[in-house]
Symmetry: C2
Subunit: 197 residues, 2 copies
Amino acid sequence: MPRASAPRFTRMTSEDRRAQLMDVALAGLARGGIQEFTVDRICQAAGVSRGLILHHFGSMGGLLAAVYARLYRETTPNLASLPTNARLEALIEGTFAPKAFNRDTLNAWVALWGQIANTPKLREEHRRQYAAYVEDVSAAIAALSSTPGGALEARPLAKALICLIDGLCLQHCLDPAAMPAETAKAACGAFLAPHLG
Amino acid sequence: MPRASAPRFTRMTSEDRRAQLMDVALAGLARGGIQEFTVDRICQAAGVSRGLILHHFGSMGGLLAAVYARLYRETTPNLASLPTNARLEALIEGTFAPKAFNRDTLNAWVALWGQIANTPKLREEHRRQYAAYVEDVSAAIAALSSTPGGALEARPLAKALICLIDGLCLQHCLDPAAMPAETAKAACGAFLAPHLG
DNA sequence: GCCAATACTATACGATCATTCAGCAAGGAT
DNA sequence: ATCCTTGCTGAATGATCGTATAGTATTGGC
């Protein structure tokens, strides 16, 4: 009767299991910061044994970098599919939508920021994503620039806007009531108004 | 011959020892982030035994809150002693001076941000300091406001400026070359120009 | 129905974590 | 010169950390 009992565990495709572990790790970061990002807690929450993280990600640093990429992809507005003159508004709307602009999600971001300087794989991932982000925002701004030569200003303006957004996110994370989404959106609007038509 | 050997340790006043431990802990945060913030590393670097942190701070959370207060006091420009119409410029100059706007110092800030959500004592300390900070910056802005009724706008403008500053600091910390001090200062100038006389 | 590839388990390992606590010792007060 | 306050030591505790590894079990392809 070797087939009488159910399988002790289920095999997933490598891709699916990686996704599951990233989601569980992300939920931990959102809930309790970097203290929750441990082999024990993640594997227990995912219902798998301790060896699986190493098997799929090589190290905890590898998982952390993968989580960063996943969080970026899930919460950063995708502008590529939109007409260029609609992108800037979509960026602002998407950034401060409840899906992205909430305490838990931002908690995960802040926790990741704190690890970038000390986790080589994560730093690489961040620089790659950040460069693409600046490109996207620059293009969105340039498309709405009032002056023809405004394209020259789009890049520094994009960087400053990104910094403002990051700061607003940080503030909301540390004290949500002190920086609600509407206030944050208004701050971005006031920042951009003088530079656009 | 009980007096032949030198004292095994030197006693400090409680205040001096606390200051030393805060400095050592801060240096660790600046160098290696929150991973360096452990009893063993701090006490070994300070040349004291492991029991001393509990003796002076009650817990690691207590030390972390004290370190936050110390970092704030050491790197945030003190505006109170200046005439009101000189405070805003002093804020910008001081914020982006090498003493405050450098990778190590900002690394400590980012590491602390990552702990605020999960360390009650640190969160209290942050909210207290942040409230005072908003007051100071609001007053500095109001003093230069072009319109008489501009005082009504000073508070949200101050909050937005603080967010921009935080974002610029974060960016410099994660990739110093991508956000030099001059660029950061210019971004603040561009942000404020439309609102001031 | 068997085989081979590999997802997965489970334990062991050495290091490190924060906190506790009983008592030593330094140095100003008397 | 002795006392007393208290800064300080250092070992013990029990939990938890990331990584390594030997081997089991599942599942798709044959």
